[in-house]
Symmetry: C2
Subunit: 207 residues, 2 copies
């Protein structure tokens, strides 16, 4: 605590400092910035924070953020229920939405398997995923967990759970998002693991 | 606006996105993070924001942040009124306080002269500075405005205002913080202007 700062400012800075990526100094800077703005801004932000948990929860079906029982994606008649994309968490879902490449439904696992962090299958929303797939089997399940040891382990585990599931008498197709050299990246500076993967996963070249 | 996100979350993200250094995506990420925390945290942050402007204002004497009429520095009997340090804004004051090198008083100008941004002498707290110096002249005024075109122009302007001011019959000493190579920095990667300045401002070497 900086003894030269007003207590109300320090209190705000301490709370802001608990946000991810906000250190002690930048929390102070943010608090001073808010104070320098119109009071209406601080009030609006305060009210948005107070209202947040009361008006936003998780979708009963897919665990995306939702204002009611179902999220806006599960509610939308424009989305294709034949494709189900499995992600670790909401920011991943949001990133896929921004890509504009996917028009199916999602399932948010709320984490990834991690023996180190003590996260096992029961900590994820896997039971709900299976119930959902049994009730309304999609043609394809896209595993979009992260490209990391934990993400791979989670994808493998889900693959095992889905192995004998059928949709209209046919096995459900289980796919994994591609891993490789990212767009615009310079091979010279790319990490070995990514480059090795990109080589192993090479495809016939077409033009 | 992301149509797949709850409105209450979007509202919070939009407000967070107005903070300095917080882009649209990181605002969304922060909002999702807050939602993932205990509701008590969001409430505490909301209340701290609501209370901020009501309990914190600016010091009547130096324009630092203050809970009452005077800030904690101006109120402190431990500070030396013979030294007055002039800074552009509150974060600069806080940085100097963190250095632990200064035990005098401050004056916050609330900006720097900038013809480009349309900021002239009347937009700064210069009248208050002069009134204050006339009422209780310090022995030394330290100009700690930034090392930049605007900071230099502001320091020169203040120097002009103080030229004929006296303290106990003697001219007030007006000094400027040193500019040079920062601690631990590698000359090879330092910008030309800083290195040039450091050379011109060289001092006799002592050991």
């Amino acid at each position: 605590v900086d003894p030269t700062l007003p207590i109300a400012l320090e209190r705000l800075a301490r709370l802001l400092g608990r946000l991810p990526g906000v250190g002690e100094r930048s929390a102070q800077r943010l608090a001073v910035h808010v104070l320098g703005q119109d009071q209406d801004y601080a009030r609006a932000l305060g009210e948005a924070l107070n209202a947040l948990h009361d008006s936003v929860g998780f979708c009963r079906q897919c665990y995306h953020l939702a204002e009611g029982e179902l999220c806006r994606i599960c509610q939308s008649p424009a989305r294709d229920p034949r494709q189900l994309c499995v992600v670790e968490d909401v920011p991943d879902l949001m990133a896929i939405e921004r890509s504009g490449e996917f028009r199916g439904l999602y399932h948010v696992l709320r984490g990834a398997l991690s023996p180190l962090k003590g996260i096992g299958p029961r900590d994820l929303t896997l039971d709900d995923l299976l119930r959902r797939i049994d009730a309304e089997p999609p043609e394809e399940v896209i595993l979009a967990t992260s490209i990391s040891v934990e993400g791979e382990a989670t994808a493998s585990y889900v693959l095992g759970l889905l192995r004998h599931k059928l949709a209209d008498g046919k096995p459900i197709r289980v796919t994994r998002i591609a891993s490789g050299v990212p767009q615009g990246s310079d091979l010279e500076y790319l990490d070995q693991a990514t480059l090795g993967r990109a080589l192993r996963a090479r495809l016939p070249f077409q033009r």
